[in-house]
Symmetry: C2
Subunit: 419 residues, 2 copies
């Protein structure tokens, strides 16, 4: 017997037939003797409709009322899933954020969880009643409904798991796990059996959109083991939780210490959402960086990679940096009026670029990972335009046309290809 | 300055444009200096969709989960109206049943109101903030959402009005008041300026579907003055509450004592939802009525009119009664097996009948109202098949083909025709 949180997103509960499939996944775990809390999103499309109505009502709207409207989607799903579970003979009860209560701060629209009163939920779980929790929402100290922002149901699930001291938090989604790379590009990509929280954070923020970043951060903080599983498999064909074995389906997101067989590199990701700006012949003097990046920060533009060449003549240098492609025009508009002050000769921009990253906790203890990457790309005649690194990742900026070639080459070089 | 409850039904809040019209009605009253609580239904069609989903989920479903799902419709409207009001510069806040709290018993799906905590609402009203209350719902002692059954938002509105000691409860609907008869049949029908609670109860239950019966009963019990007004008029063309004057639009539902100029008859209604059953040559002996109507009551069939002729030979008699047309087949199935026991010779049934009623509190003090009715119908050669009376109403059963003729004739005879 274990205590389990299962989370199902919008496409998994898109209609009553899909909700029936979800109920069968839940029943499988209940029949295996587990205590189960389920966290559900709104039916696919519902949240968009509700958001659209609030916008129609007024482009500038009170976030408290936005939360009241938008949270209703999860309320509907929680009630419907409870009904279906009961019809299958599984004892179940729906729970809204305010009924638990799941307390948050007053930051409507992107509230942060304060504390969860677990006594009601736990007493029901111990009576073997499934708790169907409406995701994405809580209640503020002033008694208003709050929501966590899009994708917040993952965060709800991890928070509930921490509060009820669950043995695992299973996130059911439309893929069966986390892969070494995007299978649409790399046919040899393989599913990771296990991945560390830190690797998952890099994978999530770099384009593998399986888990919400915030939920992984919270899981790491509270030591909640997460498992990514598919809700589109036949429910009865899956083994119940903790019986998956090595041949089972899913990816466990856990502490690094739990990963016995460590790979140096766990995954190769890419992001096309980058734009590059180069300032030619900037005056090479103290304070020039602050004069460029201060105004960009003030404009809430997130600068990622920065490359400054060594000045050849000691007077002038070229500076290249990247911004999200959606902020490209705005960034140019911020910099252009500073031309005289910065004294640059020209501003070059490019959006036909991609950021390719190599991720792995093994890098901490293995030297030469970066050198291997640069050599592999050079062997394919791919020019590196910028580089940035963290403790467990190396990212390079290259021409977009080389995306597939670069990702496949690196996937192979680091030994990730399927045997 | 007065304190006002305004209630808007599903067609009045069917989309954002309609909600904007509702907001203008509310703004008119706020600008006139009134403290306003608004009670809203779900957007037209929403509740049906939600109910349909619960049925799809399971034909037999837990009423607690049904309430969780279905109550979400009013939640959405309350938030949207608050947003629109704010965008017009009117301070507003939405309130769910559990936030007020509006306490009910545990009868999910048709809960009865227990008590309403008015302190939160009243303090906001006194700060001139409009309270937008989600209708149709409350919270049980065990912390679950309860609903009042279809049309329950009228009841919410009256209950809130009683709790906050409102000066009036205005029910906005798709007609501009209560009429002396159905204007589709009687072109000379006129709007009543005032109607007593008791007359309204008879009018409501007999086919003038303007107000929910339960809300009128509650208004009568707590002395809440109700006003039926149109939400489809241009909001700024209506005078604010209490300034309507005699030429204003709407019908006030109030205590009999408030009606100075009393009519003997206030309205003529008809109902086609009747079916007639006649048992020929029933044994005329003590207990025979109980043998007929006992089993019908056990089957939950509501018998309305009963006519038993005087026995000619002292041994046998004919008994005629009416039931709702939807229960006609079922009633026949209940009676048929009793043929030997009751000893009747034949069972005749008819559904081509209509019940026409004359309603007015003036009947209490005026003799001859019934005689006048019978004579008027006889003059038109309309045969009366059954009669039932209460203190303030006389109903007759006639052939359906005479509906229009009978209603128009009576409307004219009692002096209700428009001048």
């Amino acid at each position: 017997m274990a205590r389990l949180v299962m989370k199902f997103g919008g496409t998994s509960v898109a209609d009553i037939d899909r909700i029936r499939v979800v109920a069968r996944h839940v029943k499988r775990e209940v029949d295996a003797g587990h205590q189960v809390a389920v966290v559900v999103s709104a039916m696919a499309g519902t949240t968009n409709q509700l958001v659209e109505w609030t916008r129609e009502a007024s482009p500038l709207h009170d976030a408290r009322e936005y939360d009241t409207v938008v949270s209703s989607g999860e309320q509907v799903t929680s009630g419907l899933l409870a009904i279906v579970l009961q019809s299958m003979g599984v004892s179940a009860r729906s729970w809204q954020g305010w009924q638990i209560p799941l307390r948050t701060d007053e930051t409507h629209g992107s509230a942060r969880i304060g504390g969860i009163e677990n006594s009601l939920l736990v007493s029901r779980l111990e009576e073997n009643q499934v708790a169907v929790v409406a995701g994405f929402q809580g209640i503020s100290d002033s008694g208003r409904i709050t929501t966590f922002g899009r994708g917040g149901s993952d965060t709800s699930a991890v928070a509930i798991a921490a509060a009820i001291n669950a043995d695992r938090c299973d996130i059911y989604t439309d893929v069966d796990g986390v892969y070494t790379s995007d299978p649409r590009i790399v046919s040899a990509a393989t599913r990771l059996e296990r991945v560390s929280y830190e690797e998952m954070l890099e994978l999530a923020s770099l384009g593998a959109k399986v888990l919400q970043t915030r939920s992984v951060e919270m899981a790491m903080k509270y030591g909640v083991r997460m498992m990514v599983r598919s809700s589109f498999e036949d429910p009865e064909s899956l083994a119940p939780a903790f019986e998956e074995g090595n041949g089972g389906v899913g990816t466990l997101v856990c502490d690094e210490d739990e990963i016995v067989e460590k790979h140096v590199v766990s995954g190769i990701t890419y992001s096309r959402d980058e734009a590059k700006i180069t300032l030619l012949e900037v005056q090479d003097q103290p304070g020039v960086s602050a004069q460029i990046f201060g105004p960009l920060a003030d404009a809430n533009i997130n600068v990622d990679m920065i490359v400054q060449n060594v000045s050849a003549n000691g007077k002038q240098t070229d500076i290249t940096f990247t911004v999200p492609v959606t902020d490209f025009e705005r960034a140019r508009d911020v910099i252009t009026p500073l031309k005289n002050k910065l004294g640059y000769s020209d501003l070059l921009g490019a959006t036909d670029i991609v950021k390719v990253s190599v991720i792995g906790v093994g890098m901490r203890s293995h030297a030469g990972v970066a050198a291997q990457m640069f050599k592999a790309l050079a062997d394919k005649n791919i020019n590196i335009q910028a580089i940035s690194t963290s403790e467990i990742k190396i990212s390079v900026l290259i021409e977009a046309v080389y995306t597939e070639l670069a990702v496949r080459t690196l996937h192979s070089v680091y030994g990730l290809d399927m045997n």
